[in-house]
Every structure is written in structure tokens, then in C-alpha cells.
Amino acid sequence: MRAVLSPRRQQRPDEPAKRTGSAALAERVFRIRESGIVVVLAVFVACTAAVQPRFLNSANIQFVLIDTTVFALLALGETMVVISRNVDLSVGSVVGLSAYLATSLFGQHPGIPIVVVFLAGLGIGLACGIANGIMVAAGRVPSLVVTLATLYIIRGIDILIVGGKEVVAQSLPSAFLEIPKATVLGIPDLAIAIAVVIGIGAYYLRTFRSGRDLYAIGSNPEAARLAGLPVGRRVFTAFAVSGAIAGVAGVLWGAQYGTINSTAGTGYELQVVSAVVVGGVAIFGGSGSVVGAALGALLLSTISSALYVLGISPFWDQAIWGFLLLLAIALDQTITERLTSALRKRRTRHA
């Protein structure tokens, strides 16, 4: 005879509304980070232009766009690294080293094709990136420590090589210096080119297995390993690419400023990380896009420009970046925690 079963646990009405509520919330949150940047940007521009119409004249817009190009490029490489739950702090030093070494080629080898100079910059950056990549992928040391060290090693090498010298604009071919200045319909060619590169980067990260693997690795490193993804190889590649991009960015830096000494690129890593995080790339990896990061770079440049136009001292820049970075990290964490705890509570309640 069948045993008398005790009453089933209470039939609890499902709460589909709440469940889709939190799912929708999660999606909304992640879309917000990026469309949010656009909104913030628009609002910011509008407010500043209202106070100071000069902000929106074409010369200023061009200036902001050009100013952004180097950072947007750096943001592309940095995003790949951060998505995989790492960080590359050496990019500023790579920019500096590449800027000097590549542009001094013009003086040493007059008539050298500009393309070759760019390739040289790329090569220098690639070498640095490979060094970073090997140490992070094979060693069990946080990428922050490794790239903090290479930040200083590469800067030191730069100082040793450069000493008190500098590359001056006169030694650079005018075609090279024109690169940032060329415009089409009022928009700098360079900005368009960078936008295209960012688009390519975004496409790669979306459409190729190696790109998606980076997201998986950042989202859940243990699960990635268990799933058999080549974690070491992917992380190495991300650092190598970040370095190569920084190398190219260095050459562009040289074209933009014309005068390159041993201080080129100092402090850029912090701005790039700020731009990336503000642009919606989670500091713990797994989500975010290069487009968002580029927009973050644009936002930061816009803020700098706005401060200048409004007559506020540019000395406020760094404090603002720092504050924004903290805000972005804190928001990121709080949102994730809220989501997780809301899920956990609901899950056990249904048990």
C-alpha cells in the first residue's frame, strides 16, 4: 500500500512578471551603459553650447575629434584586454616610445615612406605587447602588476634612448604633419579612419570565435577553462594587439603634436582606462563594446574641451577622470550585486 504522502509544499503562484522584470532590467542596464553615453554626451554638449556657443564651431569640433583619435585607438586595444578581465597599464609608455623611435626615422632616413614609419611604430608596440602577453598569460601574476612594471620599464627605456633630445616638427615631412589636418566636409579624415578601424574592431569582436572567446574568458574564467577555450592564447593575443595599436597610436601622436620628447604619452593609461570603463566596458570583463569605449574617449575629450571653453581650468581634468572612474566602477558593482541578490532571493523562495 502506498504510503500517505504529506501535503505537497505550497503551490506558489509563479511570478512571471517579476522574473521577466529582472531579466528585462538586466538587458536594459546593459543597453543603457552605451546609449547612456550618447545621451550624456548630447546633454553635456547641449548645456555647454548653451552657455558658450563657441563650443560648437567647426574648429572646436575638429579639435575635439582629433584630440580623441589617439585615445579612441588606445581604447580599442584596451577594451580587448579589459573584456578578458585584465588591464594594460603600459599603453602610455608604448605611445611615448613608439612616437619617438618611429618619428626619428624621418630624420635618420630622409625620404622614408610614411607607411614604413607607421609599420615601425606598430612593430615597436607589438614587441611590447608580446612581452606583456607572455608574462600575463603564462605567469600567475595579476596583469595590473605586470603592466605597472612594464609601464615604468618602457618609459625608462624611452628616457634612456631619448635623453634630452627631441624630434621637432621641422624634421618631419609635411605630408606626415598634414595627416591630422586633412578634412573632408569639415570632418577630419583621421577621425573617419579611426571610426572605420573601430568598426572593424567591433566587427571582429562580434563575429569571430576568438573575439567571443575573450568575452567568455572575462565573464567566467573557470567555466571558460572547463569549456576548453584556449585561454592563454587568447589573453596573449589581446595584449599583443593592444601593444601594436598603442604603437600605431604613438606615430599618430607624433603627427599631431610635431614635437616629441621623452614625456610623450605620460599618464595616458589612466585616461584610457577611464574612457573604457566610462564607456560601458565592465572593469571585471565579460561585457562592453569598443564603440562604447570610443564614445567614452570622446566624452572625456569633450569634457576637457568644455572645461577649457567655459574658462574652467584644465587642472580639473584629472580629478574629474578619477571621479568618473570611481563612479563607473561603483555603479557597475552595485548593479551587478543587486541583480545577483535579487535572483538569489527569488530562487530560494521558489524552492
Binding site: I134, M135, A137, A138, G139, R140, V141, P142, L144, V145, V146, L148, A149, T150, L151, Y152, I153, R155, G156, I157, I159, L160, G163, G232, R233, S262, L270, V273, S274, I283, S313, F315, W316, D317, Q318, A319, I320, W321, G322, F323, L325, L326, I329, A330, Q333, T334, E337
Partner: protein
């Protein structure tokens, strides 16, 4: 068998045996090579200069050690130094009395550390990320305070603290070195012999077990960050007096040196391990290397190479065997 306080000596020495011994050998090597390379190396005068140029960094190393042992990190130390320096300059310009300035600077240092501590313990943000942010924020505040200006007219009574030797000790001891020695002794006792120090090791080695043993992890970590803030402010004051200059980029980049020394000292980046003896040796090794570079006319601004290389060595060497194996496998 000789013993100290009921403990056989070999047992006492065992934890110190491995990394610190190697480090002591390195220090001795540096002394030997240095004095061979240059007759000035071991003179009192040179030691004095060593104290001058490394005193503030050495002082900042001490609270950083506790923070890293507890499982966190503070990259904003140099920015707090800069902020304290800027504050000192700005308030002095406004003709505040120096004692009042000291109080304000101390409070601001504590507050800066408290912000770090609260963000890490209450919002549960990783200290790595937080202190990168505050590194920028505090340096930014220093920049806002001073702008492009420098303040250089501090009274000699105070700037002498930066450049003169401590009276009655011969001519070789800087105030910063003295402060370092005193603090090192205090920190050493606290870390190695008090419940507070033991708790720091526990929470670094095993955060959950520490909590389950009733250790107030959040409170202690916040205290450590505040302590760091206070001491870095002190370092900022010393730095400003030594150079007789308050400028926004005072101490720029020093956080790397501080972290490098702590890791060089055998303190594990993952927390739970390390000793003050190692830290003192690390400071000596680092200062010795800097000095050797100086005496051999190595470009001072490029010493970052050496610091960075030391940093890498100190984190990879302990895992050297594992590292090579993984390289050859992948």
C-alpha cells in the same frame, strides 16, 4: 638550545629563513659591490644622502606592507602625498599657522584613506580598481589646489627638517630616516606581536576563516587605509620641506617604487605573507640600487627600468619553476 621567550631560536628564525635571507645576501652584495665601485659609497655623507632621497618612500612602504598583507593594495599613496603637499602650499600661502596646517593635512590624509577603505569594505570594490581611481582623483585635487603654481617660501625652521641631520646623532641621520626607523619598530611590533597584526595575516591568508574567527575584517582594513592616508600625508609634508617646494606633481609615480619595495621584501601580492625585517631589507636593497645607479651616472629618470624589473622579478621569482613549466607547455 637557545630560546627567546619560550620559543627555540631555530623555530623563530624559520619563517625568516627563506626570502629574507636571500634578500639580506643581496643587500650585502650591494654594499660590497657599491663600495668597490665607488669609495664614497659607505661614507656617512652618502648614507645621509640616501636617507634624504629615499626617506619618504621608505616611510610610505610601512603602511603599504600592512595593506598588502591584509590582501588589498593602495595605489593612491603618491597622490595622497601630492595632495598633502599641495594643501600645505595653499594654506601656507594663505598665511595659516603651521601647526593648524599640520592638523588639516593629517585630517585630509585620514579622510582620503577613509574613502579608499569605505569603497573597498562597504561597496566591496576591488582595491586595485578603487585606488587607481583615487590615484587620479587625489592627484587631480592637488592640481586643482595648486594649479600651475609652486609655493617655495616655507620657513627655514621647517625646511631644515627636510635637509638637516638630526642633532646629537652625528651628521648622518636625516629626520625622515629617523622617523622611518621609529615607525618600522612600531609597525614591526604591531604586525608580529599583537592580535591586530595577527589578524592582518589571517585575513590576508584566508578572509573567510578570519571572519569566522570573529576578526573584524572590514574595520581593520578601513583602519589600515586610513593609516596609509595619514602616513602618506606625513610623507608629503616631509617631501615638501625637503625640496622647499609645493607643486602639484610632487611624488608623481612614487606608488610604483613603494609597491616594488614591498614586493621585493618578500611580501606576497596575494596577501597573508611577509615581514617587517624583509621590508627593512627591501628598503635597503632598493636604496642601495638607486644609489649605485646614481654614483655610476645612470640617467636618474630611467631608474624606472630597474624598479620595474625588480617588481617583475619579485613577483615571478617565487613562481619561477611553475612559470617556466607553463611556458613550455603552452
Amino acid at each position: 638550545m637557545p630560546s627567546l621567550r619560550g620559543r627555540p631560536l631555530p623555530d623563530l628564525l624559520r619563517p625568516a629563513l627563506r626570502w629574507e635571507t636571500g634578500l639580506a645576501v643581496v643587500v650585502i652584495l650591494i654594499l660590497v659591490i657599491g663600495s668597490a665601485a665607488s669609495p664614497d659609497f659607505l661614507t656617512g655623507n652618502n648614507l645621509f644622502n640616501l636617507g634624504l632621497s629615499n626617506g619618504e618612500v621608505a616611510i610610505m612602504v610601512l603602511p603599504m606592507t600592512l595593506i598588502i598583507i591584509s590582501g588589498e593594495i593602495d595605489l593612491s599613496v603618491a597622490s595622497i602625498l601630492g595632495m598633502a603637499s599641495a594643501l600645505l602650499g595653499v594654506l601656507w600661502n594663505k598665511h595659516w599657522p603651521m601647526p593648524a596646517i599640520f592638523v588639516v593635512v593629517a585630517i585630509v590624509g585620514l579622510a582620503a584613506g577613509a574613502v579608499n577603505g569605505l569603497l573597498v569594505t562597504r561597496l566591496r570594490l576591488p582595491s586595485l580598481a578603487v585606488t587607481i581611481g583615487t590615484l587620479a582623483l587625489y592627484r587631480g585635487i592637488a592640481t586643482i589646489l595648486l594649479g600651475p603654481n609652486t609655493v617655495s617660501d616655507f620657513p627655514t625652521a621647517y625646511t631644515n627638517l627636510g635637509v638637516n641631520a638630526v642633532p646629537f646623532t652625528g651628521n648622518d641621520l636625516t629626520y625622515s630616516t629617523l622617523i622611518f626607523i621609529v615607525l618600522a619598530i612600531i609597525f614591526g611590533i604591531v604586525l608580529h606581536a599583537t592580535p591586530f597584526g595577527r589578524s592582518i595575516y589571517a585575513m590576508g591568508a584566508s578572509p573567510e576563516a578570519a571572519q569566522f574567527a570573529g576578526i573584524r575584517v572590514k574595520r581593520i582594513k578601513t583602519i589600515l587605509f586610513m593609516l596609509s592616508g595619514l602616513i602618506c600625508s606625513l610623507a608629503g609634508v616631509l617631501w615638501t620641506f625637503r625640496l622647499d617646494t609645493a607643486v602639484q606633481n610632487n611624488g608623481l609615480g612614487l606608488e610604483l617604487n613603494v609597491v616594488a619595495i614591498v614586493l621585493l621584501a618578500g611580501v606576497s601580492i596575494f596577501g597573508g605573507k611577509g615581514s617587517i625585517i624583509g621590508v627593512v631589507l627591501g628598503v635597503l636593497a632598493f636604496a642601495g640600487i638607486q644609489n649605485a645607479l646614481l654614483l655610476t651616472n645612470f640617467n636618474q629618470e630611467a631608474t624606472g627600468i630597474v624598479t620595474g624589473a625588480l617588481l617583475l622579478a619579485s613577483v615571478f621569482l617565487p613562481n619561477a619553476g611553475r612559470f617556466v613549466r607553463r611556458l613550455t607547455r603552452t
